[in-house]
């Protein structure tokens, strides 16, 4: 294909996106579009899978049967999200095994929030309320992103995430209406998860490298700073209802902006965790790689059995 032809295709491609048409896996797409989407969708899928670990940590210790069942269902939803996000990613011409390999080798990233430990039951509430809350703000715009399989997966993901968020908030509410000890547990969880949740919305706009291109391809509709402000404005009144204090002495309502002003985020901590040195990075990767390695003989057996079955079938036909 000549350069001119490619340029022509690219122009038509961008025009389709501008007209809000969906790009489907078999459509022509620029290589950069393909790579960007593999990166983002797989990162999202990996986050779902690694995200099962901190919450899974409380399944055996959930305080009541009702909570245990709800938590199991939630973590199972996340596995399901992982499954269809991997499938969406595979339509771009990469296998699930390759994607796992990228995760296990550290080449692919996942959301840094899951590199923090869940140390009390209240953390399960805080994750639902704050982490899923921030995730929804990040993800709702993706329901209308340009790549069809991703957009469709996100419609379902967002529905379930919004249920998880309500469930998390309800855990917090119960704690805050409980004994002083329970309320203290809730406040402690908020103290620890607040800042990492703000970091989930990504680096500040001047530090963000992918924003412009992502906007054009509708992988992004608002900038990180806009999303963060939206999250804060939405969450502060929820904390008020709980009777909890946001751990930010600079937080105050700005009448003029009709938004909350807030304190400085510790970006050194953010980069430390992104670069692999958070409290749980090592443990999370060991858990994932360990599960994969321990499962190898099982996956091999399933493959061998399927092949043998096929051979037996073929022989019967002959």
């Amino acid at each position: 294909m000549s350069e001119e032809q490619i340029k022509n295709l690219e122009e038509q491609f961008e025009a389709r996106i501008a007209r809000d048409e969906k790009i489907e896996p078999k459509d022509w797409m620029p290589e950069k579009y393909r790579q960007t989407h593999i990166r983002q969708i797989s990162q999202h899928a990996h986050s779902e899978i690694v995200g099962m670990l901190p919450e899974g940590n409380w399944i055996t210790r959930a305080p009541s049967l009702r909570r245990k069942v709800a938590l199991l269902a939630k973590v199972q939803d996340e596995a399901g999200h992982g499954l269809y996000l991997y499938s969406a990613c595979e339509t771009l011409g990469i296998s699930r095994d390759e994607l796992y390999e990228q995760l296990h080798s550290g080449k692919a990233k996942y959301s840094s929030i899951f590199n923090y430990p869940t140390v009390t039951w209240a953390d399960i509430g805080a994750i639902g309320w704050l982490v899923d809350g921030a995730a929804i703000i990040n993800q709702v715009p993706l329901c209308s992103t340009s790549f069809g399989p991703y957009a469709r997966a996100m419609v379902r993901v967002c529905k379930e995430e919004s249920f998880h968020q309500r469930q998390g908030y309800e855990i917090m509410l119960k704690l805050c209406n409980g004994t002083p000890e329970q309320k203290e547990m809730a406040q402690d969880a908020l103290n620890r998860w607040w800042w990492p949740s703000l970091m989930m919305l990504g680096p500040t706009d001047d530090m963000s490298v992918h924003t412009e291109q992502s906007m054009k391809w509708k992988l992004k509709r608002k900038t990180n700073d806009e999303l963060r402000q939206q999250f804060i404005d939405q969450t502060v009144p929820q904390a008020d209802i709980l009777g909890l204090t946001i751990p930010d002495s600079d937080l105050k309502w700005n009448e003029e902006r009709q938004s909350y002003d807030f304190g400085e985020i510790d970006w050194d901590e953010f980069w430390q965790v992104v670069k692999g040195h958070g409290p749980m990075n090592n443990a999370r990767m060991k858990a994932r790689v360990g599960a994969w390695e321990r499962g190898e003989w099982v996956r091999d057996a399933a493959m061998a059995h399927a092949e043998k079955q096929q051979e037996r079938k073929n022989k019967q036909v002959v």
Binding site: T60, L65, L72, A301, A304
Partner: protein, 251 residues
């Protein structure tokens, strides 16, 4: 308590599902593949859902103000009546599937009879559960066949797991005092009558999986009387952690 036998009978059934559900819950996020991970979580969810119905009913019979959670999480180890089989650890995926399979075949047979119980609550729970358990049985049987037939390594691992867990199968068919009374009243299932059908079905699947049926005639028992293996205390330490650390609170 007016009907201590019925109460104990319900616990005998429910505790199996609770402890097995708890064991499966340990695996969430650590399975050999995403699909098996989801399936194990799903079985755990089914079992714990069933458990809630049983304990809610037991709490009603107990009439002493205890809730389903009190019954599930605040008994002493000696007061849990589950069979030893279900408390065995997730040594590897082979053990997890072998434990599941050896329990599922029994569970399905038992529920099929429980559905005919004159106790309408138990019959209704059985009716709902049996659909779920029929899926569990299909899933675990398929894995027994896959692992038996798959590779040399998988064959050897699943055979070892079956051999090790075999010793816990006979207990499934022991009758407790509560069992005997409940059978006489038409409420309970006579588990002694399930034994032949159980081994027939289990042996047929093992054979299909090219596995040998263990020949040992020595069996372990005690779970139904609350005498458990050394694994049980650790399992309960997890299960009861919150209720013990923060007593009398709502969650």
């Amino acid at each position: 308590m007016k009907n201590k036998n019925l109460y104990n009978y319900i616990l005998g059934i429910a505790d199996n599902s609770l402890i097995l559900g708890q064991r499966l819950g340990e695996l969430c996020g650590h399975g050999p593949s995403l699909e098996t991970d989801i399936a194990c979580t799903n079985m755990s969810l089914d079992l714990l859902g069933q458990v809630r119905s049983y304990y809610q009913y037991a709490a009603k019979i107990a009439e002493d103000g205890r809730t389903e959670d009190d019954i599930a999480m605040l008994r002493k180890e000696r007061e849990y009546f589950n069979v030893l089989l279900v408390e065995q650890p997730n040594t590897d995926f082979g053990y997890t599937m072998a434990r599941q399979f050896l329990f599922d075949v029994y569970h399905f047979l038992m529920l099929t009879e429980l559905e005919k119980s004159t106790d309408l609550n138990l019959s209704a729970i059985a009716k709902k559960s049996i659909k779920e358990v029929s899926y569990h049985k299909r899933f675990s049987s398929d894995w027994i066949k896959r692992l038996g037939d798959g590779t040399e390594e998988s064959h050897s691992r699943i055979q070892t797991a079956i051999n090790d867990l075999w010793t816990y199968t006979d207990e499934l068919f022991h009758q407790t005092e509560a069992d005997k009374v409940m059978v006489a009243e038409g409420v309970g299932v006579d588990v002694t009558k399930l034994k032949d059908a159980y081994y027939e079905e289990v042996n047929a699947i093992l054979e299909e999986a090219t596995l040998s049926v263990p020949e040992s005639k020595y069996f372990q028992k005690g779970g139904k009387q609350g005498i458990h293996t050394e694994h049980m205390g650790y399992l309960l330490a997890d299960l009861q952690y919150m209720q013990r650390t923060y007593p009398n609170m709502e969650w």
